[in-house]
């Protein structure tokens, strides 16, 4: 008897071992409240692999409401911060792959275009407010933007006033330089610096190797009348150098220590009132006003002037890197269910409120996602910086496109970041940056086709 017991236990153990090695949990089990109710539901289901961890709660709630309204099961899984590509790769190989996923512009499209369902003729595409918010290849529309964002120089207006200036005093790069250098000259007396640290740690370097680099790229494209190139000339790299020098020489810290400064460092300096300017985007809004340290009256966002083009009519850098794509390899029913879900999100009252609203916009009373969505049904922004973007546009200023989506690869960005860091610390020179910008662009573009 004992022997059989032992045998049974061993068998049970081995079974559980094997089970542990099997496919990790089926996503449809995790947060699917309704299950499929064959009486009322359509046959499809939606599995959304969400990119933004900070909006997970809102998506879960929205999914539940949609399921209650329509009976279509919606599963939302959110990838942990900075692991979206890895998560997507492994999820796509599963038996139940995501039906709705994110790609981050042209580079993401390169990886995933075979998986992108052609949205041509779909309802959601009809709702898109401008064609420029769709990612296309040939005649096919493979992805649509789901949120539009702006970035620029965030200004602490209170400190700027203490230094004796107002936002209106800064209308060009020369103005910005004069104000920044004046603040640096009087920093002992004022007690704060002009710019928060331009950290080159990977949590912060994208502000310079991608967002700041966008300006010389944009102006070069404008000159040539193109929207992408396989060989950048670096016409405006001297201006890039000038603005970067301005950042690092008028900051809260020495240029030599920038390699270890993080995004949090930079934000905390700004929150603590140690710096007047902070280069970042509308996504920082919640972080800045969240703790009650700032209100809308304290903050403003101004364009990043680099001394090129018509500065009097330059607006914020506005665009998107968040695209929705529908998985072409999913079952046709699931694809239809996913398209319906997307359409509902950007047209229904509940959906648009949740996506665009701020405080109390969720049906449960929670804070909405605060996006500006590029769809006809989008609501007025609640985000101060996005409101300002609208004001700039209304005043006739031209937003700067996000041309950094045409940067050939992440490697290009990382190598530029290394070169900038070495330049700031004095262990490298500006030629290294120019080479990383111009030469790598060509070599990385050549490898894109490989």
């Amino acid at each position: 008897m004992k022997k059989f017991l032992a045998l049974g236990l061993t068998a049970a153990l081995s079974l559980s071992l094997l089970a542990g090695c099997g496919t990790p949990s089926d996503p449809s089990g995790s947060s699917d409240p309704g299950g499929s109710d064959p009486g009322t539901a359509a046959n499809g289901s939606v599995y959304y692999l969400n990119f933004k961890p900070e909006q997970d709660a809102q998506w879960q709630e929205l999914a539940q409401i949609y399921t209650e309204e329509t009976g279509v099961p919606v599963t939302v899984v959110t990838a942990a911060s900075n692991t979206y590509e890895q998560t997507l790769t492994s999820e796509m190989a599963k038996d139940v792959p995501p039906t709705l996923f994110h790609i981050n512009g042209l580079n993401g499209l390169l990886n995933w275009k075979d998986f992108c369902y052609d949205l041509t003729g779909s309802d959601i595409l009809g709702e898109l407010s401008s064609d420029s918010y769709a990612l296309t290849e040939g005649d096919a529309t493979l992805a649509v933007a789901m949120a539009v964002e702006s970035y620029g120089l965030i200004v602490n207006k209170t400190l700027l006033a203490e230094a004796g200036y107002t936002v209106e005093d800064i209308q060009s790069f020369d103005d910005l330089k004069a104000v920044a250098e004046d603040i640096t000259a009087r920093s002992g007396e004022l007690g704060f610096a002009a710019f928060s640290s331009a950290g080159m740690d990977s949590s912060s370097d994208w502000r310079f190797q991608t967002h700041l680099a966008n300006l010389p790229i944009y102006f070069e494209y404008e000159d040539k009348g193109v929207t992408s190139t396989d060989a950048i000339e670096g016409t405006y790299l001297d201006n890039y150098k000038a603005i970067f020098d301005l950042y690092i020489n008028n900051a809260t810290c020495e240029p030599a220590v920038l390699s270890s400064m993080t995004g949090d460092d930079s934000r905390n300096e700004f929150l603590a009132g140690e710096a007047v300017f902070f280069q970042n985007g509308s996504w920082e809004y919640a972080n800045l006003v969240g703790d009650g340290l700032f209100t809308d009256n304290d903050l403003a966002m101004i364009p990043i002037y680099i001394g090129v083009g018509d500065e009097a009519n330059q607006g914020l850098c506005t665009g998107t890197e968040n695209y929705w794509a529908v998985n072409a390899s999913a079952d046709p029913e699931d694809i239809q269910a996913t398209l319906d879900f997307m359409y509902w999100c950007v047209t229904s009252e509940t959906g648009t409120n949740a996506m665009c609203g701020g405080e109390g916009a969720m049906p449960s009373g929670g804070t909405g996602m605060g996006f500006v969505i590029p769809f006809n049904g989008g609501l007025e922004p609640t985000n101060l910086f996005m409101k300002q973007n609208d004001e700039y546009t209304a005043a006739g200023k031209t937003p700067v496109r996000w041309d950094f989506t045409t940067i050939p690869s992440q490697t290009w960005k990382n190598d530029l970041s290394s070169a900038l860091t070495a330049y700031a610390a004095g262990t490298g020179d500006w030629d290294g940056v120019v080479s990383a910008f111009v030469d790598n662009w060509a070599s990385e573009y050549a490898m894109l086709g490989a």
């Binding site: 045998l7 390699s259 270890s260 290394s418 610390a425």
Partner: protein, 283 residues
């Protein structure tokens, strides 16, 4: 008892073997296959022949990573083992507080590599700032030394424990007999202690060699390959190839590099095991 084992061996072997096959052999074979493919997800792989290997073996940064890793492995293996053995010798002499010391030396090994990497990153950068030198991620030699310090700090304690066990298992008769015959401390060390702890040396060399070669977490957290890929070791290079780039070719290149890497680690450890095994003595 023996009869029972004969009858029930499948019960003990099959579950473990099945887990091994599912968790190791099958993925390994699949990985081998994928190293000859272009792919985004593993079920959409397209055969690509030996293109991936040709690319991997001619890529400059991969070759640089190889030499950097090889240099690091040699230096760290020597440093770790010499230091660990010296501490083990000191702590088997019966000085007061031996157990406290042993625990303290062992503790760093209990902390994960990523955490250690970030802690040492802060520590070393502070020191370098105070000295007015370029930071870790700006100067490759400092990055190398930083990695070395970190690895020594983490690994010495672990190797020390193995050496202590080896030293304690040397029969006291040998040592007493040697002393009576008038052998000096130096002679006892070289003629008796070291030959008798050869099995420990084998295992410690194996561990530090493979650890050095496969180093990833610490590399990622301490320098992240900066400046400009100069401190990028093989594992990090493979990771960056696989995830840092877009397009199906890169996954294949990364996979081919990973297979080459695996073969390298196996070959090097087999050579090392052979070399040290041959010096082991029977007690």
């Amino acid at each position: 008892m023996e009869k029972a084992i004969k009858r029930f061996w499948p019960v003990f072997v099959i579950p473990t073997f099945a887990a091994f096959a599912i968790g190791f052999i099958w993925p390994f074979l699949q990985g081998l296959y994928l190293s000859f493919c272009r792919f985004i997800t593993i079920d959409t792989a397209q055969w690509n022949g030996i293109q991936n290997y040709i690319y991997a073996l001619t890529e400059e940064s991969f070759l640089h990573s190889f030499w950097f890793t090889a240099l690091f492995t040699v230096v760290s293996t020597i440093c770790i083992n010499v230091a660990a053995f010296a501490i083990a010798l000191a702590l088997t002499r019966g000085i007061k507080g031996t157990n406290v010391f042993r625990s303290v030396f062992f503790m760093p090994n209990l902390i994960g590599g990523i955490v250690l990497g970030y802690i040492w990153n802060i520590l070393l950068n502070c020191v370098l700032t105070l000295l007015g030198k370029p930071l870790l991620s700006l100067h490759a030699p400092y990055g190398f030394i930083g990695l070395l310090i970190l690895m020594c700090w983490q690994q010495i304690g672990y190797m020390m424990i193995i050496y202590i066990a080896g030293l304690q298992s040397i029969p006291n008769d040998y040592l007493e007999a040697a002393r009576i015959d008038g052998a000096s401390d130096r002679q006892i060390l070289w003629r008796i202690k070291i030959p008798n702890v050869m099995p420990s040396i084998t295992i410690c060399m194996f561990l530090s060699l493979t650890n050095g070669f496969k180093l990833f977490d610490q590399n990622l957290a301490l320098t992240n390959g900066e400046p400009g890929h100069l401190t990028e070791m093989l594992a990090l290079n493979i990771y960056n190839t696989f995830y840092g780039r877009s397009g199906p070719s890169w996954r294949g290149y990364g996979q081919a590099k990973a297979v080459i890497f695996c073969v390298l680690v196996v070959v090097i450890s087999v050579i090392q095991l052979r070399a040290t095994r041959s010096k082991e003595v029977q007690q």
